[in-house]
Assembly symmetry: C2
Homo-oligomer: 679 residues x 2
């Protein structure tokens, strides 16, 4: 047996098998199902199948590998080595043939299904398995005696050489086909899209000869306020460029409900908003491609996450049904279409767009993406995932069950409707501490790493000035005021007399806390007013009530851990969030930030087609809780108005941040609830 | 048993079964697989399920039907009868319930799979089975507690109420969905396209409430010279309007090769020609819809047949590869797309277009359609099908094997390149007889039923005049000249002396035959020149050589029958065609005309989706013979120059039209062959 075949062992997979002497390594890998890449299909020109043979004794594998276990480099390998350079020890898997027992390592860059490590330490890595791949084929030339179309011969080549059956060729590619085949002398590289569904694979692009790529995909998070796009290499998943712009729909309304109202009140208003967001997306695509120096023709896929209203406006659906019970979506399923269907003229006409499914009329594809990214359905312990934005999406669950709802927090958490509030931009206060003894604040502004009481702060912020307070700043400010005893549990700001600091000044019938006053120098006066406190209370009550509603539904009074998601979530300190009672009490080290989890979900769906099947199944399994029609939501909302809460105990919080027992209520202020809006 | 169930017998199918008393007739029909229509799904509003119960003794079926074997008309039926009228004896199948043994006739108009009788007596009827059907569904209203999209609930309704699984809803219909569902109060009628492939069914249109249709389809024959469209009712297949226009591509070249040359010599020339034909198609669609008073929104399907060059120019493919060996098609498979893909803005955006498959680079979808219509593959005897146009498509075969080729006859058969030739239009001579004794002609012109020697002819033709000679006229003229001894077998026209008639007059070194001379009155002088004879000889030689080549390939010297197809084929008399040697010798009563068989094939593919599968399989099975590279074609071509033929005997022709043995060759005329062109 040793005379005619040999044992081939692949690492790291450990797959092994006996093959006749003379078998190319690539062939052996394919037959064993080893994950070894190849674009050219074994023609020795793409070099994607590089492997690293090992020689010597391998007691672990029970083999000894002789020096001549692989064939010597042949002419093809030498030529490749001279032209492009092979790393020492590396061989082309399609050229090197087995001559004896051998151990062959497949380096990560030669694997199709690479692992993409995510930033968050506890996050699952993304396994690369993009829907679109590059394959080179040799197409039979036409034969008058056996006439078939060039398209049919290309399809046959894809089937026999790559196992891609019945590849659909869109009309515009058919029109270009003959020229490309002849230019490539019947060798062409095809970008074939083969997704997670039963649909036939689809040709997305065709290049004459060998085209090595890479192909790119775009993961887009269409938020009410900002649109963020990540351009990813579909080969290894790395983000080559990211860019964000304001959602131009803001001119039609700051929050979602005001945009729905705009559509209701203005015939054609939905179409206007659709055009606006699509135009912005085209600008964004162009910007991100320019930044990454990528030819847009190589961007062949895109994924989109968004809340239901953005989802409808992106797809060109009138959102008015989302403005009223029963909040019926046009479609809750994932939508798979071409870039032109979405008006994305900046992408190639054949590029694909995949819009993730929605969970419900108020819980959109963004929440589905968060679920995909944070995977509560795979969690052993009970996890609460809160995606804080203009609207908050909340997930609660574990392996047994996952619940979801959305809660109308409004834009206060983003610094809107706050007297000194502003968007996160240089000059905005983003961190704040109040000395509990002196009641004096110190803060940091965006664009400067120094605290306000450190040397050089004034100089460093001279250009930007200190202009206002952003979303994370206002949360810290309110929480610090509560911890410093400037604010009582009901949310009342004390007077200078009650608090012992002149920074608490009268403001009509209530008080405000002065953080910074540069009016003598012509600068800004930045305060936290009683109105600001009320706005934050409304927002956090909505958030907490949503979470509490899910906990009721789940039948629990506490959760094992909390994940803060959303671009904004990354900036909230868990302690401050808990002091405000934004989230239920939990050990602080069990409260983590997932960053832009929705965007990560979009990226996962871009890089791994199985993840699309997963999220499509997941949204069906998630139990939706509709806050708008749930009477208990209102009860929870009222109870959550206090800081941190009127009735729920916060034992874990008490361990790390005992809150002063103060009360400033002298009957002078109306503490009643205000009207709140979804948005 | 008789107490609880009853025997239900349906005619004409003869299907029978026992059903519990109280079973609606429609339910019984469905369970037995009886072909009984319904759009509303049994709601008693569409009336498509009308049936005719019979009462009394039926010894043939072994039952006696009591008067009360069906329930009395219920309120729904009475209401329908009052509002719309039910024919006497008719019942609504969904309302009438079985109360005893019953015999129920399903009248033709209540059958889905109606038979459409074709004009030609020996043609198979078309069985209606259009890809698109109307179905009414009741969609569940949205429920906040179980949120799904309106689209998903529509899909569920289509699946549960009609067995239509996973219906795809295109984006523009998604955008309209919510409005239509609410307008129809959750009852809507869907046009669902479910073709012969594995592809998921597809929503083409949606109407609120009950929409009774009908839906229409367009069968289009895109010829080099003319484009013809038939608008068909997809319910019963009848042609509601037909219209034809000139192919505007004529301005880029009369024949196919000159259009290919135009594309070769003019960058963008192919796109110009594509725009031209698409524009013309839009005009044609509009015209035919106006003529039939049909809302274009109801035209949901279309089928197209055309030769390969037209096929490419219609689909937007550059045809230059078709101008040179190996004549590679972009695609030979059928192409299924949307109307906008073909630039058909006159059709609804979701309307489907199905372009039949091509057989080879010279044998197009028109020939495939002829094969579908004339079905040589289903013929017991050996049939030669000749589709005569600017290019001739020829099929030869029987159940065992079918061969196909095309032959470059040129436009002579259509009256082009003929000295007095003109297109078929009022004033054109279309029929002609020559008295063998007097050598005097009599003729008929288009627009007048009288012969030229009949009383009133001059008056009847005063308006149009006698302006020229059309395709069928020139064939009759040449054949009559041969039969009258004015033309010898080599094709030479005799002199006045040789023929004994002054109508044979000198024309340079040759002669011409004067049919009509109105020059004294300022009218036309219509003659057949020696050059005309040569043009006809070239055309008919090409046609015969193609047929003969197929016969060689088949290994036969004669065929059992000949079918003349093509719009022009309908006007050629078999005897005259055989005198010219256009077709092989055969008993004259075995030579029939199939009319526009390509157009009929398009209509069959429109009305019956299984026919699409059939033609797609058929084109793969047909053996293609490429005349351009076959040396024997040239030999056959030369031998076929004589009238009827230099060597092949025409015994059947001799029985009915013995040809005078004359010879006018005095060595004065060059009888050499001329250059011929494909086209």
């Amino acid at each position: 047996m040793a005379d005619t075949d040999a044992l081939v062992i692949f690492t790291p997979s450990g797959r092994r098998g006996r093959f006749p002497l003379g078998t190319p390594v690539l062939t052996a890998a394919r037959q064993l199902g080893v994950d070894l890449d190849s674009v050219c299909g074994g023609r020795g020109i793409c070099s994607k199948c590089q492997v690293q043979p090992s020689f010597g004794a391998f007691p672990k594998h029970g083999v000894t590998v002789a020096e001549d276990a692989l064939s010597d480099k042949n002419a093809v390998e030498h030529r490749y080595d001279e032209k492009r350079g092979l790393k020492p020890g590396r061989r082309l898997g399609c050229q090197a043939v087995v001559q004896g027992d051998i151990v062959i390592d497949v380096p990560p860059e030669s694997q199709v299904h690479k692992q993409v490590v995510r930033k968050a330490a506890d996050a699952r890595p993304i396994t690369m398995d993009a829907a679109t791949r590059l394959v080179m084929v040799e197409v039979e030339e036409p034969d008058m005696h056996n006439p078939t179309g060039d398209a049919e011969r290309l399809q046959a080549a894809l089937a026999t050489q790559w196992g891609l059956q019945n590849v659909t060729i869109p009309l515009p590619l058919l029109a270009d086909l003959q020229g490309i085949l002849r230019k490539g002398k019947w060798q062409v590289t095809a970008a074939v899209y083969d997704d997670h569904t039963d649909a036939a694979p689809r040709l997305l692009a065709l290049w004459p000869g060998l085209f090595e790529g890479p192909l790119y995909g775009l993961a887009v998070d269409v938020g009410s306020t900002t649109i963020a796009a990540h351009l990813c290499d579909l080969n290894d998943g790395h983000v080559v460029a990211s860019s964000g712009i304001m959602n131009p729909q803001i001119r039609f309304g700051e929050d979602l409900m005001s945009r729905v109202s705009y559509a209701m009140l203005n015939p054609g208003g939905d179409a206007e908003m659709t055009s606006a967001v699509r135009e912005a997306l085209n600008d964004l695509v162009t910007a991100v491609a320019v930044e990454a120096k990528v030819d847009p023709a190589q961007i062949v896929e895109s994924t989109f996450v968004c809340n239901p209203v953005m989802h409808h406006l992106l797809l060109g659906f009138d959102p008015i049904e989302l403005g009223q019970a029963p909040f019926a979506l046009v479609t809750s399923d994932a939508v798979s279409l071409t870039a032109p269907d979405l008006g994305l003229s900046a992408l190639p006409a054949q590029a694909r767009a995949y819009v993730l499914p929605c969970i419900a009329g108020h819980v959109g594809a963004d929440a589905a993406a968060v679920a995909l990214s944070e995977a509560p359905h795979k969690s052993d312990d009970l996890v609460l995932v809160v995606d804080v934005g203009t609207n908050a999406e909340i997930l609660l669950g574990n392996k047994a069950r996952v619940l979801a709802c959305s809660s109308p927090t409004g834009p206060a958490f983003e610094g809107a409707q706050i007297s000194s509030g502003q968007r996160a931009a240089p000059g905005a206060i983003e961190r704040l501490e109040i000395n509990p003894d002196t009641k004096e604040p110190r803060f940091r502004v965006i664009g400067c790493d120094l605290w306000s009481d450190e040397d050089g702060f004034d100089l460093a912020t001279a250009t930007t000035g200190i202009t206002g307070i952003c979303g994370s700043g206002i949360i810290e400010a309110v929480a610090e005021m509560r911890m410093a005893g400037l604010l009582d549990p009901s949310g009342l700001i004390g007077s200078a007399e009650q608090t012992g600091t002149q920074r608490c000044q009268p403001d009509g019938r209530t008080h405000e806390y002065v953080i910074h006053d540069a009016t003598p120098e012509g600068g800004a006066r930045i305060t936290v007013t009683q109105g600001d406190i009320r706005a934050i209370q409304l927002a956090k009550s909505a958030l907490y009530a949503g979470a509490r509603l899910l906990m009721d539904e789940f039948g629990v009074d506490s959760v094992d851990r909390v994940v803060l998601a959303g671009a904004f979530g990354a900036h909230i300190s868990p302690k401050h969030a808990m002091v405000l009672g934004m989230i239920p009490d939990a050990p602080l080290d069990h409260v983590t930030s997932a960053g832009n989890a929705a965007g990560t979900g979009a990226r996962i769906a871009l890089c791994n087609r199985a993840a699309r099947a997963e999220v499509e199944q997941l949204v069906r399994q998630i139990d939706k809780v509709e806050t708008a029609i749930e009477p208990r939501f209102q009860e929870h909302f009222v109870a959550a108005n206090a800081l941190p809460h009127a009735t729920d105990p916060f034992p874990e919080l008490a361990k790390v941040a005992p809150l002063p027992q103060v009360s400033f209520n002298t009957g002078g202020e109306n503490t009643g609830r205000r009207r709140r809006r979804r948005g």
